[in-house]
Symmetry: C2
Subunit: 299 residues, 2 copies
């Protein structure tokens, strides 16, 4: 057991309130009166979650986007955010707040509060996002026979990361997909009441689908050739890249997103009795890659 996993187990022993969902979901879901609040707090660390050379405004955008993506995954409408910000280089800080404003305006979310402190060493940026949901599907609710659906397409942010590292050229929208992801808020809200399970794809399609299957106590098979990916991209590279912030949804066959301004929804797999993740391509079994995605820490 890794040190981080051991610590999360220690934290889990404290998180016995049902709203904590055993720290196994994208967000906490707290009932207050007749309302369901959805609460998440994600950190970005310089050199871990973003490259030191990434523009400050893009880092701010991403900090907002990754947290709102957790709200999207619980079908929540955002109510506001609180920022935890260590001060550093003054120009970087100003550009960060400009990017924060752009992201909050783009998603229609108010800044409610937070804290600024003297920063030291690599930055650790924190954001808490609060939302409200009518139904907040857990990631553990997939049922036998459900299909696995994904919004949008998978892999473009992974290409963008390679571009940001200077490793390769890529399509012009790849860098934007990596640096300025757009959480699927409208899609999450539209799917919330019909999804048996829902979560966002932050660490890679395969690892996140495996987590949904494990949380639901089921096996899942994904048809690699059904996953929407950028033209010319290696399918295995796409489904093991992170930072897509698309939604994974478990629901009976026939689920659609009919509003024309929403992302397409594609069935890519199926849940069945058993355990574990398996892959097919053209109906033929394909071995799982050694690495299914990124393992970021998440309480």
């Amino acid at each position: 057991m890794s040190r981080e996993r051991a610590l999360i187990e220690q934290l889990r022993a404290l998180a016995t309130h049902p709203a904590a969902r055993e720290l196994r979901d994208d967000a906490a879901v707290l009932v207050v009166g007749d309302r369901q609040l959805v609460l998440t707090h994600d950190l970005l660390v310089e050199g871990v979650h973003y490259l030191p050379g990434d523009p400050a405004a893009d880092v701010a955008w991403k900090l907002v986007a990754v947290n709102l993506s957790d709200l999207a995954a619980k079908a929540a409408t955002p109510l506001g955010v609180l920022l935890g910000f260590p001060l550093g280089d003054a120009a970087w800080d100003r550009a960060f707040v400009t990017g924060l404003g752009a992201a909050l305006a783009a998603f229609g979310v108010p800044l409610l509060g937070g804290d600024t402190v003297a920063g030291r060493g690599a930055r650790t940026l924190g954001l808490t996002a609060i939302g409200e949901a009518r139904s907040a599907p857990a990631r553990s609710g997939a049922q036998r026979g459900d299909l696995l659906y994904v919004t949008g397409s998978i892999g473009l942010a992974g290409l963008g990361l390679a571009v940001a590292r200077g490793a390769t050229d890529g399509p012009s929208d790849a860098l934007a997909a990596y640096r300025r992801p757009r959480p699927r808020l409208a899609e999450g809200q539209a799917l919330g009441s019909r999804a048996h399970a829902m979560m966002d794809v932050s660490d890679g399609l395969l690892i996140d689908a495996a987590r949904m299957a494990e949380a639901s106590g089921l096996a899942c098979t994904i048809a690699l050739d059904r996953v929407p990916i950028p033209p010319g991209m290696d399918p295995l590279a796409a489904v093991t890249a992170g930072d897509d912030y698309e939604l994974l949804v478990a629901a009976p066959a026939g689920l659609t997103l009919s509003q024309p301004d929403l992302a397409r929804l594609t069935p890519i797999g199926r849940f069945a009795a058993g355990a574990g993740l398996s892959l097919t391509h053209g109906g033929t079994p394909v071995p799982l890659p050694a690495r299914l995605g990124y393992e970021h820490g998440a309480v």
Copy 2:
């Protein structure tokens, strides 16, 4: 204008939602349905808000206490917390989570979620606390003729900081007051509906009273000889020391805390038309000290 102040002004321009209270209060107060949610997010930085040698369990306790103190200041009942935790030394981390559990148990607050990440350099620990309040007095609500009250006593944590630094001996409870402050949750809830203004004393009695007066557009005079302080402590040292986490309350004369298990409540000053803070001792004006308290960053 300091760099930090400039950045907070830039953030304030984004915080136009009424729940943000212009980032001038201890916490955000968000109306959801017929409920009032109180939300705060405070950071502790190693070497800034705690000493590198402070026991990890005490740092965890303090992180919980400073956030719950903000809830107390808005008369809120805590509903839960989210933790932002950068991993470091494994033994320190384990002791931190043990202290976290002790603090959450002491105050009856559940851990709902958060994030753990790979830490780098000095730690920045974050906590978001969510509470619910029937009335959430702003710090800007003091009225002309109101008295200024304080719960408990002021200055012991300042003695404790000196003890922790090895600078001096002190009473046996001083170190505990510094390392394991107890937010005045029950007092805040009991006072909420009767207080015109309320806030906690985190940076020093004088600086925080000056902030309440300024936010309320009034002058405030404090009778130094009325402030409850530890026996033998210099009154000016006590009222400029931080980390007390007592409550400051503006209300008409006659305010009392009658429940026997609550802290005493002492009238120590008065609000009047005008601006600024002034001090008296035995009825005679006393010059303000050059430093009124600590200026930590706070969005």
